[in-house]
Structures are given as C-alpha cells and as structure tokens.
C-alpha cells in the first residue's frame, strides 16, 4: 500500500473558489433580475396586463372590525379604479388624473393578508405579498405597532406602503420612512383639536386618570393628550396606567380609578379594547360620580362609528376626535358614503375612508408620475396638495409623509336620527390649528433609492 497525498494546487483552489462563488451568488443574481425586471425597481408591472396591490389588514384580534371595513373600502377603490360602479370620490377629488381604466391603463388586481394585529404576522404577510404575489404597493392597518413594523419592511424592500389606520405620532415622527405614507391624522392632532373643546365643555383644572394601551400608539396618544390639555386647560395627571392590548376584562384597572381623586378618565384604547373598557367603566358607575365637586367625565380621544356601534348606549355624550365621519356634507364625503352604502348597506367608517383615499392617492400619483417606479411615485406624493376627499384642502407633507387636513371633534349622539347616526360633529378643526413642525417628532425618512 502506498500513501497517496492529496494536495490542492493554487490554481485548482482559485478555480474552485470561483465556481463556489458563482454558485452561491446565483440566487442573488436571480433575485436581482426579478427585482430589476429590466427597469430598476421591484415588481415592475410594465410587461404585464395587470398591476397588483396588497391589502394587509387585521382580520382577527382587537382591531378586526376596523380591518373588515378597511378591506371593504380597498375593494371598492379597486372597483372604481377599474371603471366599475359610480366612481365614488373619483368624481370629486382634485387634482384628478385617474381615467377609470385601472392605473396607467393596467387593470388593478389585489391580494389580501391578515395582520392579526401583530407586528410579526403583519411583516410576514407583507413580505409574502411583495415576494410571492408581486405587489407594487401595499396598504392596511389598524395598529401603529403594525404600521411601523411594515413601514420599515417597505423601506428595506423598496415597495411603497400607504398606511391605513395608524394614529401614533411615531409613524410619521421618529419612525418615518421614505417608502411610508400616512393619510390618517395622529395623536398630536387629536390633542390639539380636543383640548379647546374639552376646556369649553368640562372646564379647567381637572385631574385626569389615563388608561393606556401598552404600545406605541397608546403611549403617543397619552402624551399628546396630557401635553395639550395641560397647556390649554391646566389639566393634571393623577395616574397613567398601561393595559395589555386585547385585555378583554378591564375591571381590575378601572376599580382603582374610583378612589384615585381623578375627575376625568381618559381611555387611550381603540377598537374592541375601547368598547370593553368604556362599557366596563360605565358599569362601575363612573359617570354617576362626583369628584372634587365636579361631575366625573370620560374622554375617548380617538373613536369611530364602528366603536360607537359596539359600545351602544354607553357612547352617548362621550367626546373624542375622529378623522372623518360619514355625516359630513361635502361632496367628497357624500359621494363616498353613497357609493359605499350602495355596495355594503351601511356607511363607511373612518378606517374605510382613509384606506379608500390612500388607494386613490397612490393611483393618482402613479398617473402623475407616468410610471410605477416607486422613486418617482414618492416624489409625486411628496408635498402634493389635494382636495375633494372629505377633509377639505389637504397636504401630503414631504418632510414627514404626513397628511395635514381638518380634524373632527365628535360626541356620541344623544338622539340619533338613524341606526348609523351615532356621532354628532361638535367642531371641524381647521388644518392650520393642528399643523406642527416636522422637527417636533424628529426622524429620518431615509433614501429614495434602496
């Protein structure tokens, strides 16, 4: 037997390394090819007959009702973009570049996903839409935690995210992204709109107890309401207690309010959480109490018709803010409400409104840009002024991708004229009064090209 030494020559080592390198980089090259599509951006639909949008909404979890309504609005928007139905807000929006023949002549198709009101599930669902379904834009809500998580993904993947219902200041504040856009108003605007009304209704020097959903939106709203009411009406904070999202039974958090010395309870909850916490607060007799010589009050800074429906009688007389309400009399609101009502048999919620607007605004921006290239579409959306969509003259501010528009202060209707007439508009607060500097919640949008 002879010992046979196996030796590797420099030449064969280099050859092997090159071959291994080529093999390992092949998937990346294929992906890049798919990404580029010959035009330099992901999921370019230029050579296809259709263009696909992704609607990523909570179909389960605490915000499922809002998610269901968002999906209805998305479907209606797609219908209108494709020239079906009565066109809804396409009859009223200004400027209007949509022709009812899809987007840039391509029929609009869509895929849906369930965020489960969880950031990880939402990211996984959005990733699937981008990588597997080839969406050119995705949208949805209804949680700021989710919106911020998928917005970061949008930036990484170079795919535009038109956020649905997200109200945290962080979404267009410290967590703002070049590829993320928000049409919905935010907690800062709620505070600015609500504070004068709360002072007029309930007076100055109130003592407030906050129950707050324990995630970015809750913290953001708690701080905005504290700051705005302290500055406007010298309202102080007795305590601010964080509650887990989807707690269901809030009784253990409500009972300490009774003897806290507070005369106002602010519920920084949304969706089913707000329905449950408000119902239970009223069951515990808070509104029947007098504290510090004043009638006890409950404030829900952000609420919608869907929540009012869930809370039933309990919402009557409660003050809050909302992005939009179907009872508005402007042409855009009426056109959308009529179109949505004819389709589904009931009026749209604010969540539906913002998602419908976002879809049309994106499509309009693509038409103005003349391309689906996200960089050009982003530039078309930045500092875009528009009107006729239910909130008066509005601006998509380029510095933080936040829309500035009128905000509504509403009250649970004491004498509803119909089964849907659950909120009465107390005040329409002008956009100038809720506008703030983009540096107030500083953040970095990031680059156009990713």
């Amino acid at each position: 037997m002879t010992d046979k030494k196996t030796s590797v020559s420099r030449r064969s080592f280099l050859k092997g390394s090159l071959a291994a390198g080529a093999a390992l980089s092949a998937p990346a090259l294929w992906i890049q090819g798919a990404y580029a599509g010959g035009h330099g951006f992901r999921n370019d639909p230029t050579n296809k007959a259709t263009v696909t949008l992704g609607f990523n909404v909570p179909q389960t979890g605490a915000y499922a009702d809002e998610g269901a309504d968002e999906l209805r609005a998305f479907k209606l928007a797609v219908k209108h973009l494709n020239g079906e139905g009565d066109g809804g807000m396409m009859q009223t929006m200004k400027p209007m570049n949509l022709k009812g023949n899809g987007i840039l002549g391509k029929k609009v198709d869509f895929v849906t996903g369930d965020t489960q009101t969880k950031s990880d599930a939402a990211r996984a669902s959005a990733k699937r839409m981008i990588e597997k379904d080839g969406v050119i834009m995705f949208s949805g809500g209804s949680s700021s935690g989710v919106a911020i998580a998928v917005q970061a993904l949008a930036q990484e993947m170079g795919t535009i995210f038109m956020a649905g219902l997200t109200h945290s200041n962080d979404t267009t504040g410290k967590d703002r992204r070049r590829y993320g856009f928000r049409h919905f108003f935010n907690a800062h605007m709620s505070g600015a709109a609500l504070a004068p009304v709360l002072q007029a209704e309930y007076g100055s020097d109130r003592q407030v107890y906050h129950l707050t959903a324990d995630y970015t939106w809750g913290w953001s709203q708690e701080k905005s309401i504290q700051d705005a009411t302290a500055a406007q009406a010298k309202w102080g904070t007795v305590n601010a207690v964080r509650t887990p999202l989807g707690a269901g039974d809030f009784s253990q958090y409500i009972t300490p309010v009774l003897n806290s010395g507070a005369d106002v309870l602010v519920l920084n909850h949304y969706g089913k959480d707000m329905v449950n916490s408000l119902t239970q607060a009223i069951q515990f007799g808070l509104l029947d109490k007098q504290v510090n010589g004043k009638d006890f009050q409950i404030v829900v800074p952000l609420f919608s018709r869907l929540m009012a429906q869930g809370a039933g009688e309990n919402i009557k007389g409660i003050i809050g803010s909302t992005g939009w309400n179907w009872s508005l009399q402007d042409a855009g609101s009426q056109a959308f409400t009529k179109s949505f009502g004819q389709e589904y048999g009931f009026p749209p919620s604010q969540a539906a409104h913002t998602c419908y607007c976002q879809t049309l605004l994106y499509a309009d921006a693509v038409e103005r840009a003349g391309t689906f290239d996200p960089v050009q579409v982003i530039k078309a959306l930045e500092d875009h002024e528009f009107d006729g969509m239910g909130n008066g003259p509005s601006l998509y501010r380029g510095a933080d991708h936040q829309v500035f528009k009128n905000v509504l202060v509403v009250r649970g209707n004491q004498n509803p004229s119909s089964q849907f007439d659950l909120l009465s508009v107390v005040d329409i607060v002008d956009r100038d009064k809720v506008t703030y500097s983009p540096d107030l919640y500083a953040g970095d949008l990031g680059p156009y090209k990713v």
């Binding site: 179909q59 389960t60 979890g61 499922a64 009702d65 305590n239 207690v241 887990p244 269901g248 039974d249 009784s251 253990q252 958090y253 009972t255 300490p256 009774l258 003897n259 806290s260 089913k272 329905v275 449950n276 239970q280 069951q283 515990f284 007799g285 029947d288 109490k289 869930g310 009426q334 409400t337 009529k338 009502g341 004819q342 048999g345 009931f346 009026p347 004229s417 119909s418 089964q419 849907f420 007439d421």
Partner: protein, 336 residues
C-alpha cells in the same frame, strides 16, 4: 378602604370563574385520575352555548330602514319581536340566563361523549399521554368553534335588570357601587359550588363517588359499577365548567381562545389548592382571584411595577416551596 373592598369584590367574581374550572378539574382528577387539559375548552363551549342560543332567538328579518336616505339600508328586526312584541324583546334581553336551560343537557352530553368516546381509553396510560390527548382535543374543539363562529369575540349582554350598579356600601355608609352582573356571577358561582359539595356530601350517589375516590377497588368489590358513576361525574364537571363560561359572557366577550386563557390559570389554582382537593381548588380559586385584583392597585404597582401580571405564578412558587402538596393537598396524590 373602599378601594381595597372593591378590589376584593373584583377578585371574587374572577376567582369564582377560576374556582369553578378548578373544581371541575379536581373532580375529574380525583375520580378518574385524568389530568384533563381539555377542561378550558369546556368553559369555552359553555360560553358558546350562550352565543348559539342568542343567535337562534335573535334570528331576524331584513326590513328597509327609511331613516337612511343616502342609500338603501336595512335593519335587522328579530322574528321574536315581530311575533311576540314586548315578550319577544324580553326573551332576547334574558338570552344569557335562558341559555342555561339549554347548556345543562348540552354540556352533560358533551362531557359524557368526551369521556366515553375518548378519555376512557387513556385511564391506564401514563399522565403524559392523558395530557397530550386532552390537549389535542382542546385544540380540535377550539378550531371547530373558530370555523363556526370566527376568531373574534362575540359580546353578550346581561339582562337590562342587571346592567347597572348596586351600591353595596349604602348600609355601611360607604360609596361602594359594584356592577350588578358581577355580583350575580359571584352568587351564581357560590351556588354551583354549594350544590356540587352538597351533591357529593348528602346524596347516596355522592357517597359512592367519595368512597370510590378513596378506594376504588373496595367499592367495586362491593358490586358497585363505579366506572359508570365516574363517567357521570365527568359529565357533571363538564356542566360546572360550561355554566361558568356561559355566565361569564356578559363580563368577557367569548372567543374561541378563552378556554386556553383560563385553563393555564386554573391549573395553577389546582396546584396551589392541592391536587385532588375539592375545598383546596375552591379556596385557591378565590384567593388567587383576590390577590390578582389587589396586585392591580396603584399603590401596589407603584412599588412593584407589573406585579399584577405575575402575582399568580409568584404565589404558586411560594406555596409549592413552603407546602409542596399545595394548601390542602393529600399525601400520595400524583406522588407515585
């Protein structure tokens, strides 16, 4: 003082639910020796009895709503209201208590079917097998409910009579208003507990069951079919758990996952109370419910932030360190 009393009351209604589930778990463990991880699912099935009855009695006709002029809108008008007027409205208002009548036979049937159809085949198998099969069963039941009713909570209302508050402090000169339905739930849970203990203590059937729990072989040697009686006990435990879930629906809107949420806490309750001890399960249920509520007080949380989320497990650790068999555990149970 008012705040402490309120939190104790709050703990009593939550503790009532824990105690009823733990009571059922202990009954099954004490008689059949089975660790039933599907017991939370029985709590959930009871809650969905209320949902089903409510859906049936609110079956509605679509009637054009003339007050909406923007588009064609329709209102749901329940047939019962159309046919029976105010009586129909009253029946719908009382749907949760009415569903108790349906839930008793339904839950008894489910319990017996579960025991006869599946669990009896695992009596002589190790506890690990029993846990796996009952946990699997719980997941199957959950998914069936999810497929039938969706994943979202379905709120149920207490009758109008019980939607307000009761001022318990009026006699003591204190302001101690408490939601009426939560008091109803506490009284209801006490009633069920007393009924189960009385049944076991004062009936011949109960005496045989107790004898069987103490010494199964001797009872069988006397010619008594103890297996049949234990099957009935499983059915009774299912009814107890189901009714606990049903009456809890106006407090917590039921969803398919509610059983699993309560099951984990109820097992802690059983362990703290002492495996196999019925009084231990009940006492620990109320004790942990109250401690969980007291831990949510602002004064407590300012010293120990987040204590309300972990208090039950903390107490369980301390009890097991000091009294390894639990508060009222018997020697020899699960120690072989």
């Amino acid at each position: 003082m008012d705040a402490i009393l309120l939190q104790i009351l709050n703990g009593l209604d939550k503790g009532g639910a824990y105690a009823l589930i733990a009571l059922g778990l202990t009954l099954i463990f004490g008689t059949l020796g089975v660790v039933n991880f599907a017991h939370g699912a029985l709590f959930m099935l009871g809650a969905f009895c209320a949902v089903t009855v409510n859906k049936l009695i609110t079956a509605s006709a679509k009637v054009r709503d003339e007050s909406v002029t923007f588009f064609e809108a329709y209102k749901d008008v329940p047939y019962l209201e159309m046919w029976l007027g105010d009586t129909g409205t009253l029946i719908i208002d009382w749907s949760v208590p009415i569903s108790l009548l349906v839930a008793v036979p339904v839950m008894l049937g489910i319990g017996l079917a579960m025991e006869r159809g599946l669990i009896r085949h695992f009596y002589k198998r190790p506890h690990a097998d029993q846990i796996l099969v009952t946990f699997g069963l719980a997941i199957v039941l959950q998914e069936i409910i999810k497929a039938m009713y969706g994943a979202n909570p379905i709120p149920q209302s207490a009758p109008d009579l019980f939607t307000g508050t009761v001022n318990l402090g009026a006699l003591l000169g204190m302001d101690l208003a408490y939601p009426a339905w939560r008091l109803v739930y506490f009284i209801f849970s006490m009633g069920i507990i007393v009924a189960v203990f009385s049944f076991l203590q004062f009936t011949t059937f109960g005496m045989v069951v107790r004898a069987g729990m103490a010494d199964r072989e001797t009872v069988q040697l006397l010619g008594i079919n103890i297996t049949k009686r234990f099957s009935t006990v499983f059915g009774i435990a299912a009814v107890v758990s189901g009714l606990a879930g049903l009456m809890y629906t106006p407090i917590l809107p039921p969803d398919y996952h509610m059983g699993m949420d309560f099951l984990v806490l109820s097992f802690v309750v059983v362990v703290v109370g002492g495996m196999g001890s019925l009084p231990g399960a009940v006492a620990a249920g109320f004790l942990l419910g109250i401690l969980q509520s007291l831990a949510s007080m602002t004064e407590v949380k300012s010293i120990f932030p987040g204590i309300d989320q972990i208090i039950i497990y903390l107490i369980a650790m301390i009890v097991l360190l000091v009294r390894p068999r639990g508060l009222m555990g018997r020697k020899g149970v699960m120690e072989d």
